[in-house]
């Protein structure tokens, strides 16, 4: 497909037709040796088979591939090349795509961090604990909270942490059996209602009011003596900031509930507001989003959970504490929520986040926030000039925060081209998939770009030029868009087999049973 006269670059994803690693197996090949046990060891204990009870021995060897080391390396290099992977431009909204400094990767890979066992004596990991504590202090300054915990292995896990802390808090007060409800909004990330439910609470979801956020009346109607907590983000993914949020917190507190600020969208308010100043009891930062830690295609991640002094006794443990320059692991006490995950958290990621934050400094964080909001509004102005694009809440005037949600409903009505088609067509230009919207979409055919501070104005202009090109194609020759992608590694998936228990296959062994080894 040509890229027209708009000066767009040509792009073609690498195609290796890479077989599965299982398919390049050749009996007898080896990719890794282990030594035989030393003679003295063998002499003392005999062969391994004699040491394994007969009932527990493996009978048939696993059907793993047999591949030599260079071929394993080349296979996975090919697979990495068959992954667009943010090498182009990724404005994946709600995920706050950032540069992940490579120096931090090199530091975290050093044995002084990578080869630490979490149950070493604390005296042997004072540097690690100091990093954790120092970063805790930085996040306290950014949030006004009194203690941070890094045990949660992602943003959703931090939301779950809050649900567990809420249980522990009301349990200690003897009210857990009647504090059964958690309130959230339709624009909160799905992990908030989902973790509240998985922790045993009933979920009340508030719908949006006329101003783009749920009304105070809706909140008041939902709050009662059964309210355990509020779990809310602000601004939301449409770029709307709820200016009544402090009043929300007051109302929920008055009813005896706790207030949790999901800072998924922190880039738009970073250094401008602090959760504790607004009255919140707890908040969460995603280090793999806002704080420069790589996403790894879905973790390892960190949901840094911060809370007020009053909630500290209910935190999962242990906490990293400091006394006269000595760092220790401290149990929060008998009312602790226990654990949401083993050990202290993904500390290699905490170290990277600490290093990123130090590299930015406070002024750098403030500037990143400014740039994020500035470029989002710049982009919005331009995007609304593209045919078929409309903005969420078109009747609510004013500047948006760091992210705005748009709709391609008009484009779809006019041309029959769906937002999925547009996403696929984007990748033909070497641009990573767009984020549409979390469930529920609220807007038909949504998309939610977020620029943040990493992408240059040239990148953003280019991204918009591609959307303009796709819009033009939709109105002139929709088939180009509907049959996309043309330049990706493989064509679009046929979804029919995916939901069919007779045809889905989550493993190669399932596939072979259902289709035979050589079926395409």
């Amino acid at each position: 497909m040509t890229s027209s006269t708009r000066g767009l670059r040509r792009y073609q994803a690498p195609i290796w037709d890479e077989p599965l690693i299982m398919e390049i197996s050749r009996a007898g090949r080896r990719g890794q040796h282990f030594p035989a046990a030393e003679p003295a060891v063998r002499k003392a204990v005999g062969d391994a088979a004699s040491l394994i009870p007969a009932a527990a021995r493996r009978r048939a060897r696993p059907e793993l591939p047999e591949v030599s080391e260079p071929d394993v390396l080349r296979h996975y290099l090919h697979l990495s090349q068959e992954t667009l992977g943010m090498i182009g431009i990724s404005l994946f909204g709600t995920c706050t795509m950032k540069y992940n400094p490579r120096v931090n990767e090199l530091l975290a890979a050093r044995h002084e961090l990578a080869q630490l066992h979490p149950q070493q004596d604390p005296s042997t990991m004072q540097g690690m604990l100091e990093i954790v504590h120092n970063f805790d202090l930085l996040l306290r300054k950014l949030s006004g909270m009194d203690q941070f915990l890094f045990q949660a292995a992602g943003g959703a896990d931090a939301a779950y942490t809050h649900a567990c802390v809420t249980r522990a808090y009301h349990r200690a007060r003897g009210e857990l059996d009647r504090r059964t409800q958690i309130i959230t909004s339709i624009q909160a990330h799905p992990c908030n209602p989902a973790t509240a439910d998985a922790a045993g609470f009933e979920v009340i979801t508030l719908n949006l009011g006329e101003k783009g956020y749920p009304s105070l009346d809706a909140l008041k109607a939902a709050v009662s003596d059964r309210t355990a907590a509020l779990m809310i983000n602000n601004p939301d993914d449409m770029g709307i900031y709820n200016p009544e949020i402090a009043e929300w917190v007051r109302i929920v507190h008055e009813a005896g509930g706790l207030c949790f600020y999901d800072h998924a969208n922190f880039n738009g308010v970073m250094t401008k507001i602090r959760a504790r100043d607004l009255g919140f009891d707890a908040c969460m930062f995603m280090l793999h989003k806002t704080f420069g830690v790589p996403k790894g295609g879905g973790g390892p991640a960190v949901g840094a959970y911060g809370c007020s002094e009053a909630l500290k006794p209910f935190l999962p443990g242990p906490l990293v504490t400091e006394d006269h320059g000595v760092y220790s692991l401290t149990d929060p006490g008998p009312d602790s929520a226990g654990k949401v995950r083993e050990y202290l958290g993904n500390l290699q990621q905490v170290a990277k986040a600490y290093a990123w934050t130090r590299a930015m400094g406070f002024d750098g964080l403030a500037e990143a926030c400014d740039i994020s909001v500035l470029i989002n509004n710049y982009m919005e102005k331009e995007l609304l000039n593209i045919r078929g694009v409309t903005r969420s809440h078109p009747d609510i005037p004013g500047w948006r925060m760091e992210m705005t949600r748009y709709s391609l409903e008009q484009l779809y009505e006019d041309t029959g081209v769906t937002v999925f088609d547009v996403v696929n067509r984007f990748t033909d230009f070497g641009i990573d998939a767009l984020w549409l919207a979390h469930e529920p979409w609220i807007l038909p055919h949504p998309f939610t770009p977020e620029v943040g501070e990493m992408w240059s104005i040239e990148d953003v202009d280019y991204w918009m030029a591609v959307l303009k090109q796709i819009s033009d194609e939709a109105y002139s020759n929709p088939e180009i868009v509907q049959k996309a992608p043309h330049n990706a590694t493989v064509a679009a998936i046929k979804p029919e087999t995916l939901e069919d228990p007779e045809k889905w296959a989550m493993t190669w062994r399932a596939y072979k049973r259902k289709f035979g080894a050589h079926a395409a």
Binding site: A40, V45, L64, L73, M86, A156, A194, Y343, M506
Partner: protein, 471 residues
Amino acid sequence: MAETARRAHPFMPNSVPEIKQQLLDALGVDSVEALFEQIPDAHRLKDTVDFPPALSSEVELRRHMLDLLSRNRSCEDNLSFLGGGIWQHHVPAVCTEIMGRSEFLTPVWGTPSSDHGRNQAWFEFCSQLGELVGAEMIGMPVYSWGCAVGHAIRMAARITGRSKVLLPRVLDPERRAVIDSYCEPPEMPSHIEIVEFAIDPKTGLVDLTDLEARLGAGDVAAVYFETPSWLGMIETGAEQIVELARKAGAQSIAGVDPISLGVLAAPGDYGADLIVGSTQPLGIPMSCGGGVGGFIASRDEPRYAYEYPTLMLSIAHTQREGERGFSMTLMHQSSYGSREEGKDWTGNSTYLHAIAGAVYMSLLGPEGFQELGELIVQRAHYAARLLGDINGVRIPYPTGFFKEFVVNFDDTGKSVAEINAALLERGIFGGIDLSGHFPELGASALYCVTEVHNEADLRRLADTLKEVCKQ
């Protein structure tokens, strides 16, 4: 500082003053402040925040981090026998190389077409792990082994409509604390009651008589057991445990260390309904606990498939004749698809580690896993023999373990804490102290031996312990 503050920041291409001005001009505003109009003035942070100075130069930042990291003593420059839930295994260099590839390291999601390679790598992870554990269905990984157990128990409760789970009395306290959270406090209407079954103190294995008695009422959703157990014991009664659970209408959940499965029976082969375990041994460094990851596996049956809380990846056909791809399926039952109506929840997990795991399993292959398993089991038993020969030191379960074993110091008159402190002075991290959580085991520690420990290391441990115990 004023001078340097005007420099564009290396991470921010738009931090050039002229570019910021260009953006402001495009919006027709004088100052970026105007764009924050939605935030009420009363909400704004007015205090000066006392932040340490920026280290925007890589050379200075690196030095600062090295100063901090140099205060750690790692398992590489000491001799460590810590295990329990995260282990010091060899990480092949190719795992590190592939995990560091930018295409895998930094992005979030693409489409099945744009991110075909990564989806294939994930499929290869699930497929190879499926071969090791003997299962046709594997969900995308979860945060940790403990989280995998928690989700599997909740799956079993939904499948059976029952709300009681049986756990071994002796279980990693870290893992157990996570399971407790997932089973919810008694005040919650969806609480899952935890009942412990006994471990036979003579053998260290599951007490089948006690287990059978606790299954008697027919109200148990799941029996969870591990092999090797937390104390390292290879569970010879696994088949009977699975059978007892089945007879009682309960689901059996087997917890395994995948690195043992070159030599130990695959749980799928002895009929375990759900299989969980850690992904960390498969090419991931410990990183002070940041290396953990977990998996959930089962038979490929709809009643299991429809209860997975994880994302599920399936092979699929593409629109191009004869071409295959890989795509997420069953999204509607995840929390992304159905919020609180979804199964538990999912989110960012440990997916980068799955790629390293795929590399690891294909490097080892069937022969590598067998060699590795044999080496570990021999060296671990050798270590146990050496330590058992020391005066006052006893190995309560001298055979039938994999890489971990219990070492008892009762007759030395010393506590594990005292012994570990003395070892530490000599550059050795002794085993995990069991005496706090499991007083019935006396002054005992859990020692872990893997392929990284050679004969000389084990002799050094024995010689040092001999010296320490005598003092």
